[in-house]
Symmetry: C2
DNA sequence: TCATCAATGGGTCGTGCGACCCATAAAGGA
DNA sequence: TCCTTTATGGGTCGCACGACCCATTGATGA
């Protein structure tokens, strides 16, 4: 199972910070491991959380996002975001050590893609963002989840929707009860669980309920 | 069960919009039923989604948030948010028909509290925000969920954590297997389900996994 | 004072569930 | 060509689960 990408977010607007944190954490392959509301505390947070990717707002009171990251040594791959669409900060962001420069006008899934991209070593300064991001749009599911076949997913979806009885699932999918049991047995093995309740928990943790 | 509060959000920054949407939707008592990225489309969205509460950013290109809402008739209780801490827009917001004016520096849980407050008929313009919000901090759980007792929640928490066997739960909580079964039976009745898998699903839908 | 409810516990009964054995048809890659 | 995987199905067995019945303690409130 690919370990999730560890991200630290810095933004002085708590609403933005909390929203991003929530939105990114809900993705199965991204973990928000720390946050900062100003430039001065950022160093300590990064040193402690050891993120794979750093996400910083340019506009911050006191120390700006750019001076904050240029002051860090051992800077992880860093994405700088701004409210302005203008590329005014683009050059300075690069000079400060950032590997990506994005607008806050971007949809959240694109930011997620950008995080995956920079975690993968990409640089994102140019205009053809879409081209680079397209390769990173789908959340990387863990290997265990990938092993779940189409039909097994159907069964799992029934469980997550509250259809838990063998007979109910069989009726829902137009197959025999025995086949349902066979699929469940495969699911249990692949998810390392041993009953329906645990399967539901694992399915939700892996994000299998959100991507279909 | 109290129906969730229906909210429409308008913000030109997609990152903020998507983040807020995600963060608010994850609350058990709030539903985001529509979004707009500019002032012009807001009217149509509100007319279609019929929200209980409207959340609007002041700073938006084209038509500002304020002129957008002042143009609406049948305006639902409206919260205006701004990036600036300054109360510069406060008066204009009131004049435009808003019932609350908040900074984006607010933590997300406070925004959620504010939404509950205005849905309840409160006005939020003054400085003693904390006092008003304090009464709305905890998400209003549905009546069914409220009926779940302390000990039953312990059992439910075990389930959500993947401890599903009767004996395992009994060991975890230092009680007999019989007591576990009794608690489970009560849970099933209160949640209108009939096995552990369905109980897990319901617990997560009601947000019982996030508030303890 | 008395009733109610939460939490703890007992027992019994039937069946649904999970673990194991197996087979067959179709599809797809080596 | 053959082997692997997927989806479909059969059977058996033992135990755990859920549905009922019940009691005792302590707290809380009418």
């Amino acid at each position: 199972m690919n370990t999730p990408i560890r991200v630290v977010i810095a933004d002085d607007h708590r609403l933005m910070l909390d929203g991003l944190k929530q939105g990114l954490t809900s993705l199965p392959d991204i973990d928000v491991v720390g946050t900062a509301v100003d430039g001065t505390s950022l160093g300590a947070v990064v040193a402690h959380a050891k993120p794979d990717v750093l996400l910083v707002d340019v506009e911050m009171p006191g120390m700006s996002g750019l001076s904050a990251i240029s002051r860090l040594k051992d800077l992880p791959p860093t994405i700088v975001v701004t409210m302005h669409t203008a590329e005014s900060y683009g050059k300075s962001a690069r000079e400060a050590g950032a590997v990506a420069f994005l607008s806050k006008g971007l949809p959240l899934p694109d930011l997620a893609a950008a995080i995956r991209a920079v975690a993968d070593g990409q640089y994102l300064f140019d205009q053809d963002l879409d081209e680079v991001l397209s390769g990173y749009r789908t959340p990387q599911l863990s290997s265990r989840a990938e092993a779940i076949t189409e039909r097994e997913r159907d069964v799992l979806r029934c469980l997550v929707q509250g259809i838990s009885g063998t007979e109910d699932i069989a009726d829902e999918l137009y197959i025999s009860q025995k086949t349902v049991k066979n699929h469940l047995a495969s699911i249990y093995e692949k998810l390392s669980v041993n009953d329906r309740a645990q399967a539901v928990v694992e399915a939700m943790k892996l994000g299998l309920d959100r991507k279909w």
